[in-house]
């Protein structure tokens, strides 16, 4: 499945709401980590900015890679089909 293109601020909102990364740094980009049970799963998650520019496929691929998900789950995460609990269960199944 191909990555869908969304505005950056939509992706940012969904990541902050569902993935709930531990925010480490707010410079040019917000940087977060995904931590489960004190274990760092994704050490460096660059969260898209809060503006309306489109986040194109080549960037979406890299963001999905940092989120440890494929295009199907990425689209679902931003489209609302995939809930935060589903995402965390996926990480527990694949990253430990």
């Amino acid at each position: 499945m191909a990555f869908k293109v969304y505005p950056e601020k939509v992706i940012r909102k969904q990541i902050l709401a569902k993935v709930k990364p531990t925010v480490k740094n707010k410079g040019k980009h917000t940087i977060g980590q995904i931590i489960i049970d004190s274990v760092i799963i994704s050490p460096y998650l660059k969260i898209p900015n809060n503006h309306k520019d489109e986040f194109h496929i080549h960037k979406a691929k890299k963001l999905a890679q940092a989120l440890c998900i494929d295009s199907h789950m990425y689209n679902g995460l931003i489209d609302c089909n995939v809930k935060g609990n589903d995402y965390y269960q996926h990480l527990r199944d694949t990253q430990f």
Binding site: I40, Y44, T94
Partner: protein, 148 residues
């Protein structure tokens, strides 16, 4: 919109782009089709390609030899994959899960320098506190970076 990508098998290519009638941008990139000299940061041309939307793109490796952080030095060059897509530069290092984008290549490379220093700091944890991917990234960085 058009551009000419001129390459020869020695060491150079140039790309000229014209956006509309009034704005012209010329980008000149030094590239090589052979292996990199480890002491240089000469780009290595990879390919040009299209995305199915009538916009041609190209990509190349840009080796970096320094993180510009007094606490860290590179044991060997790190290759950043750079792409010029639309009107934007995009760079990434797949092994580290990092990417950056901006209006110019130096802007992108500078952000990646910063990202690597940040990730080195953020991964300063025992392996027992790291997941599968984080361990893999830490291992890659250990083979690449000397911490002073």
């Amino acid at each position: 919109m058009w551009y000419n990508l001129l390459t020869n098998k020695t060491d150079a290519s140039s790309v000229t782009r014209n956006h509309g009638k009034s704005k012209a941008v010329t980008i000149r990139i030094r590239v090589s089709t052979g292996s990199a000299d480890e002491s240089s940061n000469q780009a290595i041309f990879l390919s040009s390609f299209t995305d199915g939307q009538n916009s041609e793109k190209f990509q190349y490796y840009r080796p970096i030899n320094n993180l510009y952080n007094p606490g860290y030095s590179l044991k060997k060059p790190l290759y950043i994959t750079c792409q010029f897509i639309g009107d934007e530069f995009f760079g990434f290092v797949d092994e580290l899960d990092i990417y950056a984008y901006g209006n110019s290549e130096p802007e992108v490379i500078s952000e990646i320098h910063e990202d690597i220093s940040n990730i080195l700091y953020l991964l300063h944890h025992p392996d027992g506190e790291l997941g599968r991917k984080a361990k893999k990234i830490k291992k890659f960085l250990s083979s690449l970076v000397d911490i002073k």
